[in-house]
């Protein structure tokens, strides 16, 4: 997925002089996850550069640039470190178009590695998507494969509005199905690991059915798409797995169609349960599909506690936990 993201930025840096890339360690070194490796060398320091460790400055500078018509694509080193920039993102970037009645706009992408599964402890594991989906004016995107990652990132950079682009770091190097040994296969062995060269776009706001099924709908995104696949195999139920890809705007049509068919739904995310995006999904789904439902909608999510270090696998939603939830809704 790293190469896919890099390729997306490379394509946009080459085809649009207003695109620029910056963040902590992204310049000469190419980012602690290497997503921008080589981009400074090929596009020059004026297009790809290092910043001081001040996330508010990173986004604040980007807002000023975007308002003038540039298209900054900035990196926050870990999603856990986005909070100093939370004011700039939610109060400034998100509202600039609206509050200026279109005089100024903010075509800005904030990339950040998100989620757990890497023994990163509480400051390298958080999943803050719900803190952005509540903010009108933002778009929130999270890919689950290299193929999507590239197409979605190009779409995000080309989008006229600010996009929060969450990168599930656990699957940077390969799909992770929740194996507690921590092992994962490389992307090269996965069909969606293949990434076309050059320019292509996956439109924001469209979910993807990863697995068709008749009995229960699983809503997931990022790493959890793969963990859900393992869980479905483990539970042996005929589940339909929907990879949301874009949380805001949300592809409610695809979700509705599925749940009206299956009558059951399990929502999975890594973020803490209370106030997570799962609540929003359930509220929408029950409203849209109430008369089709055969069982309560349930969530499998991170526990409402700081993300622990040593107890990682007790915290991270496992295939077993998801499988239990699948069996539970099938009982009703």
């Amino acid at each position: 997925m790293i190469e896919a993201l890099r390729s997306a930025m490379d394509v946009k840096l080459a085809d649009d002089p207003s695109v620029i890339v910056f963040g902590e360690d992204v310049g000469y070194f190419g980012g602690v996850f290497r997503c921008t490796a080589g981009l400074q060398a090929s596009h020059g320091e004026e297009r790809v550069f290092d910043t001081p460790i001040n996330e508010s400055a990173i986004v604040g500078m980007a807002v000023g640039m975007a308002a003038q018509g540039m298209r900054p694509c900035v990196e926050i080193q870990f999603a856990d470190y986005v909070f100093p920039a939370y004011d700039q993102i939610t109060q400034e970037a998100a509202r600039l178009r609206h509050r200026s009645n279109g005089q100024f706009t903010c075509p800005l992408v904030v990339r950040m590695p998100t989620g757990g599964g890497i023994f990163g402890g509480q400051t390298h594991s958080q999943s803050p998507e719900a803190l952005f989906t509540h903010v009108a004016g933002l778009k929130v995107v999270i890919p689950s494969t290299p193929h999507d990652a590239k197409g979605l990132l190009i779409a995000a950079i080309e989008d006229p509005d600010p996009v929060i682009f969450l990168e599930p770091k656990r699957i940077y190097n390969g799909p992770f199905r929740g194996d507690h040994s921590g092992k994962s296969t490389p992307w090269s062995a996965h069909p969606a690991g293949e990434v076309p060269e050059g320019h292509y776009v996956i439109p924001l706001g469209q979910a993807e059915v990863r697995r068709g099924g008749a009995d229960v709908t699983v809503l997931a995104y990022g790493t959890m798409v793969h963990v859900a696949e393992a869980a479905v195999a483990e539970a042996g139920v005929d589940a339909e797995i929907i990879d949301l890809r874009s949380l805001l705007p949300l592809d409610l049509d695809t979700i509705r169609t599925s749940v009206q068919k299956t009558g059951r739904c399990v929502v999975v995310h890594e973020a803490t349960r209370t106030g997570g995006f799962g609540g929003e999904l359930i509220a929408e789904v029950q409203e849209a599909c109430f008369w089709h439902l055969r069982a309560p909608l349930i969530r499998v999510a991170g526990w409402d506690a700081p993300y622990p270090h040593a107890q990682e696998w007790d915290y991270f939603p496992s295939p077993a936990r998801i499988a239990r939830a699948l069996c539970k809704v099938m009982e009703d």
Binding site: P52, A57, G60, G64, M65, P84, G137, P249
Partner: protein
């Protein structure tokens, strides 16, 4: 001896007489004009001193005066008119708020010279990132009063269609960035905008604006730091009007000698300037704008002034400072000082001044009447509710379409 906390206090509270004895007012003309490529280490005297051009007799003196010797009587009368127009607009709008015609207002009384003098040194395409107290920038950019008042009344002439608080203007074509209510955030955005100017090589510059109180915000630091690292063409203005709502400027300046001196710590040259001296404002602004435009990097200017009016229509300053403190302000009133200078130059008279005030008032009232004819804030629903959904995104996403339908539009 053990440690005890310090709590900064203003020199006087409501029950006390005003006391500005702590403020040192150096004679006009005593500071030099530094080279455009001034370095922070050579700026100390300018940062802890006070650049002044007009002396007590209303004469323009010293090297900064020499730098603007080309200004004609017309130029200066234009400046005076800008300030008078500003003051007239402020007074009328304050009254309009008292009459319920707008929800909120906020004056810049006493600070007119700063924005008026600065704006006239900018070019088309330069961009200010103002606070809510820089309506002077709009006035001196000849922003149509119709648009300004339209926004105050949230009627159909409002360029922002009711979205924003009355005073939170946005006027891209007039070099005026959309104001945010959140303090500090825009200071670093100004740096970003200036970086974009440099990256595109378009020859334009940005100007950040911040109040003394808001220099405490994290993004004041973000701005100074990024300006110090990338050296973009930005002029960073601090309007030190001694107060942040009820809070004395000492709570924001702490042990720093001045706000200008704080910038020196970032390696950014800085000057402290008499903000009530229109000529000093013009001279220093012209210097700073030229410096930025020519690529010598950022500069910070602390405009030393006094917030003569209340913070806003929600505020009553007699609760926290002496009633007549403004009168005791040692740097006087910017309008009176420029007027005195023009008269001393033989370019103006008391009679012409009275006449100009009357003309300007008439003009402002005329516009006000026209704009009010389109409705004021007391009218219910002046603007379509569907405006709420327009422009949240470039295109209306499905969930907003559903919500707009639910609303009935």
């Amino acid at each position: 001896m053990t440690a005890k906390l310090a709590f900064p206090h203003p020199p006087a509270r409501p029950d006390q007489p005003p006391d500005f004895s702590n403020i040192v007012v150096p004679p006009a003309g005593s500071l030099p004009v530094p080279p455009l490529d001034l370095e922070a280490r050579d700026a100390r005297a300018l940062a802890v001193g006070l650049v002044r051009v007009l002396d007590d007799a209303g004469r323009a003196v010293g090297p900064w005066a020499d730098g603007i010797a080309d200004l004609t009587g017309d130029d200066l009368r234009l400046g005076l008119r800008d300030m008078l127009r500003m003051r007239a607009v402020d007074r009328r709008m304050l009254n309009a708020q008292r009459q319920g015609k707008t929800s909120f207002y906020l004056q810049c009384t006493g600070e007119e010279a700063i924005g008026c003098g600065f704006q006239r040194q900018l070019e088309q395409g330069d961009m200010n990132f103002p606070t809510y107290r820089q309506q002077t920038l709009l006035i001196a950019a000849d922003y149509p009063l119709e648009a300004l008042m339209g926004q105050l009344y949230s009627n159909e002439m409002d360029p922002l269609q009711g979205r924003q608080l009355p005073i939170m203007h946005s006027a891209r074509d007039y070099g005026f960035f959309s104001i945010s209510g959140n303090l500090g955030t825009q200071y670093v955005q100004a740096v970003g905008w200036a970086m974009a100017c440099a990256l595109r090589g378009n020859g334009k510059i940005a100007a950040g604006w911040i109040g003394d109180g808001a220099t405490a915000s994290g993004d004041f630091h973000s701005a100074l730091l990024s300006a110090s690292v990338y050296l973009p063409p930005v002029v960073l203005n601090v309007v030190n009007n001694q107060w942040a709502i009820s809070t004395y400027t000492g709570v924001a300046v702490g042990k720093s000698e001045t706000y200008a001196a704080r910038a020196l710590g970032y390696g950014i040259p800085a000057l402290r300037v008499d903000g009530n001296d229109y000529l000093a404002v013009v001279a220093v602004s012209r210097w700073a704008v030229a410096r930025a435009r020519l690529g010598h990097g950022p500069v910070l200017i602390e405009w030393f002034t006094y917030r003569a009016a209340a913070h806003s229509t929600s505020d009553d300053p007699t609760a926290y400072r002496p009633k007549d403190e403004a009168l005791a302000w040692p740097l006087g009133d910017p309008v009176q000082r420029l007027k005195a200078h023009l008269i001393a130059r033989g370019e103006w008279s008391e009679a012409r001044h009275v006449q100009a005030e009357a003309e300007i008032l008439d003009e402002v009232i005329a516009v006000q009447k026209t704009v009010e004819a389109h409705g004021t804030f007391v009218d219910p629903k002046p603007i379509s509710p569907a405006e709420i959904f327009r422009g949240v995104y470039a295109d209306l996403p499905p969930h907003l379409r559903r919500q707009r339908q639910e609303m009935g539009y």
